[in-house]
Symmetry: none
Subunit: 224 residues, 2 copies
DNA sequence: CATTTTTGTCATATTGTTGCCATAATTCAC
DNA sequence: GTGAATTATGGCAACAATATGACAAAAATG
């Protein structure tokens, strides 16, 4: 099931959209302003974002801009008819599609379907987005900014766990138990070696890791 | 797969257009100005050109004029709304269609689809292009940079499957089942031998395969 | 039918992965 | 700063998977 983040300040609209998307088998989260949206975005992983342009506080464009700093996630903008220039504006700033209000919920769902199908394929979810990193569980491949990162299968398991709990500190044992197995008999410091190897593949400067950071005395975090 | 040349100076726009076209199974090349566009045009072969009118340096009309000296390739112009006369201008100078900015990427793709289908679509596809590799299913021949590569029929089947799923890891059994038959009774490691033989024919250095790569513990991928 | 080419299997050589360790470097608390 | 604790790193051995060359059976060729 694919996860959609709905960013919309009018509950009347977001509720309806949510209802339709749920009927179409999507999992929805509603953010009522840009701030909450960015907060949710940084902590969770979504497959598509519906983003209202006109919002109090941070507007849709600002939100999109921030999202685009780290992610290529598909974003559909919801714009008012009056703001015809929004179209261009939205595009030049990186939106993938736009829908003009007032829109038919069915139409919106159809657009979402098309996107999800095109990008993730109609089948089971196998692709996960984390900022510049994209994991394909079916292929067991990872990309950073669209470049394939060549990982061994054990490395893939480790980074997969770290990304699943991005921005959360995981102890070596948590990593081992989740990535490998609960009854893994090995030495927990072996994780250090995996971290070393993964860093050398994903970090620009493995000496000063930007993503895969150490928490002294605790474990490791994937910051994104 | 048909090749599209996108001539557009704003990366924000060309990137989105490219993304959509790739999703619709087109192969895209982006030229960020008229100069590069003409350079690429003279060195490669495309099936359709998307041409922005407003560009620094040589503008779209000039580019179109030059292209028309030697080619009848379909060209779709991308024009700004303000320049309404561009329409006429564009037509009189030989454009095949035009799209007014701001445009919906989905709409643009639809237009491209219509064109490609009208012009190239009626004939059967027996020729498949994958970068420097061209397969002719009718002739059962493969070319690399226009040079015929002499393959046996089993080798052709294997590479055909790999290219059909280029950039996807295929297990030995997937290759066997797709290339040969579902009830193939043989030993799956026989695929290794085919890979060896194909590599010796298509790779510059079979020891360090650039195209037909091994995924340790998984299978093989054709990277292109 | 004889000859050549293709196909599939196998044994062996080579390469890649994994987990561990010893030692170096870093971090933290005092 | 200093020392103790913790992490980083390079290397290595055991193991697992792949690459390769040789060969015989099967097909194709003429």
């Amino acid at each position: 099931m694919h996860k959609i983040l709905i960013v919309e300040d009018e509950p009347a609209i977001s509720r309806i959209v949510e209802k339709y998307l749920i009927q179409s088998n999507y999992e929805c989260t509603i953010a009522s302003d840009g701030f909450i949206a960015l907060e949710l975005f940084s902590k969770n992983s979504y497959d598509l974002i519906l983003l209202d342009v006109m919002m109090p506080g941070i507007d849709g464009f600002k939100v999109l801009e921030t999202i685009r700093e780290t992610s290529d996630l598909p974003v559909i903008m919801l714009t008012a008819r009056e703001l015809e220039e929004d179209r261009l504006s939205g595009f030049t700033k990186g939106a993938d599609d736009y829908v003009i209000k007032p829109f038919s919920p069915l139409e919106l769902v159809k657009r979402v379907d098309v996107f999800i199908k095109r990008i993730y394929g109609s089948n089971e979810i196998s692709i996960r987005n984390y900022g510049p990193f994209v994991l394909d569980d079916k292929e067991k491949t990872m990309r950073k900014n669209n470049e394939i990162i060549d990982l061994t299968s054990a490395e893939y398991l480790v980074i997969s766990v770290l990304l699943e709990h991005k921005n959360q500190i995981l102890t070596r044992n948590q990593i081992i138990e989740t990535a490998f197995s609960l009854d893994y008999e090995g030495y927990d410091r072996t994780i250090d070696t995996y971290i070393k190897r993964i860093r050398s593949k994903i970090e620009d400067d493995p000496k000063k890791p930007k993503y895969l950071q150490t928490k002294y005395g605790a474990g490791y975090v994937f910051i994104i």
